[in-house]
Point group: C2
Chain length 448, copies 2
C-alpha cells in the first residue's frame, strides 16, 4: 500500500515541477480520495489549491471532508469565491460549523449569508454552543421515529427521509414534542418482524447534552460502543445526533493535545510537513521559556549551596544524574495518572488513594535505585559519599512519584489541563527539590 503512495508523491511532484495541469490531472485519476487527502497534507498552500481545483467535483467534496479542520479553512481561503460557496453549501452542517470557527469572522459571515435557507437553518443551532461543547459537533440532519410506528413503517419512513441524514444506523425515537423516548438501530428495523412496534424494540438511549464538554461526551459514546448518540437540549428535547466518527475525531484531537503538552509543546493542529516554520517555533517556544525560567530555580538552589560545592566539587558530578532520575520518576507517575484520568479510571476525589499507591511505588523504586547508587558511588568515591547518593535517590524517587501522581488530579480539580501540569512542570519541580535534598544530605552526612 505504502509503495503506491510513495509513487503517487513522486509523480505529483514531477507534475508540479513541470507545472503541467494535464499531468497533475492524470496523476489524480483513479486515486483513492484518502490518498489524495494525505497528498494534500504534504503540499504547500499554492500547490494544494492547484491540485484541489483539478479534482472532479464530487471527488473534491469527498477529499475535503477527509482533511483536518485547519487544512480546510486554509484551502477555502485559497479558492475562488464560487468554488468556496459551492463547497460550503455541500458539506455537512457540523463540518460547516467547525469551519466557521476557523475562518476569519468576515469571511464566515459572508459565507453564512450566501447559504441556502435550508442549510442555514441546519447550521444555526450549533453556533449557539461553546466551541468546547458537544453541541458544536452534533449532526442536525437525522431521521427520527415515533414509538407507535411498526418496524415496517419505520423502515419506509427511513427510506423517504434518510437521504440527507448523516447516519441512519442509530435512529432516535421521540414523542411529538421531540422529547427523547429511546433509540433503535437500523439493524433491528431490518432484522425484526415488520409488524412489531418500535416501542417494543427500542432501547434506553445513551444520550449527552449539547452543553456537555466535547471530550467527555465523546468518551461516553465511545465507551458505550455505539455508532451514534442523541444530543439533547436543557429540557431533554432532541437537537441532533453525535456520530462515532466525530466522537473519535474529538478524542483523537484531545489525545494529540495531551501528547504534545506532555512533550512540552503546544499541539500543531496540522500536518507536520505543512506547518510553517514559525508555527513549529511558536508551538514550542513558550513552553521552553516557561521551563527555562522555572529552571532558574535550580541555579538559585545551587547558588545557595555554593559553599558546599566549593568544599566538595565531586558533588557536582552527580547533579545531572539525580535531577534526571527525579524528573523521570515524576514524569512516569504523571503520565500514568493523566491517562487514567482521561479514561475515567480515577477521579480527582481519588487523590489520597492515588498518592498512597505512588508513595509505595516510589519507595520501592527508590530502594532499588538507591541501593544500586550506594553500591556504585561508594566503590568509586567512598562509603560516606555512597550514603549521600543512596539516601538522596530513595527520598527523591518517593517524593517525585507522589507529587507526579497527585499533580494531574489537582490540575483537574482546579479545572486546568492535567497534561499541562504533567511532565515538564513536574520535571522542573523535581529538579529543584532533588537538589535541595541532595545538598542537605551532603551537609549532614559529610559533616560540611
Amino acid at each position: 500500500m505504502d509503495e503506491e503512495f510513495d509513487e503517487l508523491i513522486e509523480r505529483m511532484n514531477e507534475a508540479l515541477r513541470e507545472r503541467s495541469l494535464t499531468a497533475i490531472q492524470a496523476t489524480l485519476t483513479e486515486q483513492d480520495p484518502h490518498d489524495i487527502a494525505r497528498l494534500l497534507e504534504r503540499e504547500d498552500t499554492d500547490d494544494r489549491a492547484i491540485i484541489y481545483r483539478l479534482l472532479p467535483r464530487t471527488r473534491a467534496l469527498e477529499v475535503f471532508e477527509l482533511l483536518e479542520p485547519e487544512m480546510r479553512s486554509e484551502l477555502i481561503l485559497g479558492l475562488q469565491d464560487e468554488d468556496v460557496a459551492r463547497v460550503f453549501e455541500e458539506i455537512d452542517p457540523d463540518d460547516r460549523a467547525q469551519l466557521l470557527d476557523e475562518l476569519p469572522a468576515g469571511v464566515a459571515a459572508s459565507l453564512m449569508k450566501g447559504l441556502s435557507p435550508t442549510e442555514r437553518a441546519l447550521t444555526a443551532p450549533m453556533l449557539g454552543f461553546d466551541a468546547d461543547s458537544i453541541g458544536r459537533y452534533m449532526s442536525t440532519e437525522y431521521v427520527r421515529l415515533n414509538d407507535e410506528m411498526t418496524l415496517g413503517d419505520a423502515l419506509t419512513h427511513v427510506r423517504h427521509r434518510g437521504l440527507g441524514a448523516e447516519t441512519i444506523y442509530q435512529l432516535p425515537v421521540t414523542s411529538p414534542h421531540r422529547r427523547l423516548l429511546g433509540v433503535i438501530s437500523l439493524r433491528r428495523l431490518v432484522m425484526g418482524d415488520p409488524s412489531a412496534l418500535v416501542k417494543d424494540h427500542m432501547r434506553d438511549p445513551v444520550f449527552v447534552h449539547a452543553t456537555d464538554d466535547a471530550e467527555y461526551a465523546a468518551r461516553e459514546l465511545i465507551d458505550a460502543q455505539l455508532l451514534a448518540a442523541p444530543v439533547l437540549d436543557s429540557e431533554d428535547r432532541l437537537l441532533g445526533l453525535l456520530t462515532s466518527d466525530d466522537a473519535h475525531a474529538i478524542v483523537e484531537r484531545s489525545e494529540d493535545r495531551r501528547a504534545a503538552r506532555q512533550g512540552g509543546a503546544e499541539p500543531l493542529r496540522r500536518p507536520y510537513l505543512t506547518a510553517p516554520m514559525w508555527g513549529l517555533v511558536r508551538s514550542r517556544v513558550v513552553w521552553l521559556l516557561v521551563l527555562a525560567v522555572s529552571a532558574v530555580l535550580t541555579v538559585q538552589v545551587l547558588n545557595v549551596f555554593q559553599h558546599t560545592l566549593d568544599q566538595v566539587v565531586t558533588l557536582a558530578l552527580f547533579v545531572p544524574l539525580l535531577t534526571g532520575t527525579a524528573g523521570n520518576t515524576g514524569s512516569q507517575a504523571a503520565v500514568t495518572v493523566t491517562r487514567a484520568l482521561a479514561l475515567g479510571e480515577v477521579r480527582p476525589r481519588d487523590i489520597l488513594l492515588v498518592m498512597w499507591r505512588e508513595v509505595r511505588v516510589g519507595l520501592m523504586l527508590g530502594a532499588l535505585l538507591g541501593s544500586l547508587g550506594f553500591g556504585l558511588a561508594s566503590l568509586v568515591f567512598g562509603l560516606e559519599f555512597g550514603e549521600v547518593i543512596g539516601i538522596t535517590l530513595l527520598c527523591v524517587c518517593t517524593l517525585a512519584a507522589t507529587v507526579g501522581g497527585a499533580m494531574p488530579l489537582i490540575a483537574r480539580a482546579v479545572r486546568a489541563d492535567p497534561a499541562v501540569f504533567s511532565t515538564p512542570f513536574i520535571a522542573t519541580f523535581c529538579d529543584a527539590t532533588s537538589l535541595v535534598i541532595y545538598f542537605l544530605m551532603a551537609t549532614w552526612l559529610l559533616g560540611l
Copy 2:
C-alpha cells in the same frame, strides 16, 4: 452523569463491606452495563468475581465485552468452570481469539476443546495469524453478497443470515470463490431501488490483508472513515471483516503504549487502580534503570571536565538549566515527529526533509533562548560568562531539535518502536552532549 457513578461506587463499597449479596444485587439492577464495567475496573480480583457472578446472565455477557482484554482473562480465571465455558461460548470469535492470547496455555487449550464445533470453526482462522497482525482482530461472522443479486434480494439475504454477524452495516460482495469484488453499505441496500443490481451500487472496497500490521490496518480503516473493511488472505480471498470499533480499540492501545513510553514507562495494559503495586513498579523500573545507567555518562563527562569545574565553580550552577533545556528541546521535536509518523504524515525516507526543518526550528529557538540567557547571565556573572551561556544554548537547541526529530525516523527504519527512542533516550543523550558543548565553550571563551 458522574455524580450518579460516584453514588454507585459508594453504594457498592458499602454492600461489599457488609458482604451482603442482596445489597450487591440491588445495587446492580437498573445500572448501565458500561457503568458496571467501569465499576469492575476499580475493584480488586475477589470483589470483581463476586459482583460479576451476581449479574443476570445476558447483562453479564454485555459487561464482559466492555472490559479490557487483561481484565477479561483475570475475571475468567476467577470464575467457576461452567461459568467460564458459558462466557467463552457466547462471546464474539475475535474477542475469543484475544482472550486465548491472554490466558495460560493449558486453560486456553481446554477452553477451545470445550467449544461447540461451529464456534470453534469461527475462531480457528484467527489463531493462525501473528498476535500483532490484523488477522487476530477480524470478525469471522459476517454476511457476504454476490454481485448479481438485486438490492431487494440482498436485503432479504441479510435478514436471513445477519443474526449472528458482528456487523451488517458494511457488506462484502464476493465472487463464488470468495474473491472480493466490492462492498455495499446497508444504508444503500435500504435506500436504493429494490430491483437495482448490487454490482451497480457497490463501491471499490478499502481492504486490508490478514497479515498486515494491526495498527497500520486499523488506521487505514479509520482514515477512510468506514464502519468495516474486508480482511483478505494472501490470494485476495475474503476471510473476515475488521470493524471500526475494533480498529479504534487497536489504535487507542497503540497510543497508550506510545504515551507511556514517551513518559519513560511501559504501558500498564489495565486500569490504574486495579494494577498490582508490583505491576506499577515493573512498568517503570526497567526504564528508570536504563535511563540512570545512561545518565552515568553525564557523571563521566563532568569527571573529565573536573579541573575546569575546580577553577570556576560557578559553571556548576548552570548545569541543570542547560541539560534541562536541551532535554526539553529534544523531547519536543521527538514527540512531534513520532506523532506525525504514527499518523502517516511523514515516512522514514523523509528524514532529510525533517532534519532540515528541525535545524531551522532549533536555530530559531536557540537564538531566542540564547539571547535571553546571554542577557541574564552577563548581568549577574559578567560578559564573558554570558557569552558561554548564550552560545551554548544556541548550539544545544539546534543539535537537540535535529537529533530529536531524526531519532523516531531512524527507529522506524530499523523497525524499533519510535516512542522508545523518543523522549527519555533523547533527553539523556542531550544531557551529555550539552555538557560537552558547555565545557568546551567555557574552556575556550574563559581561556581556562
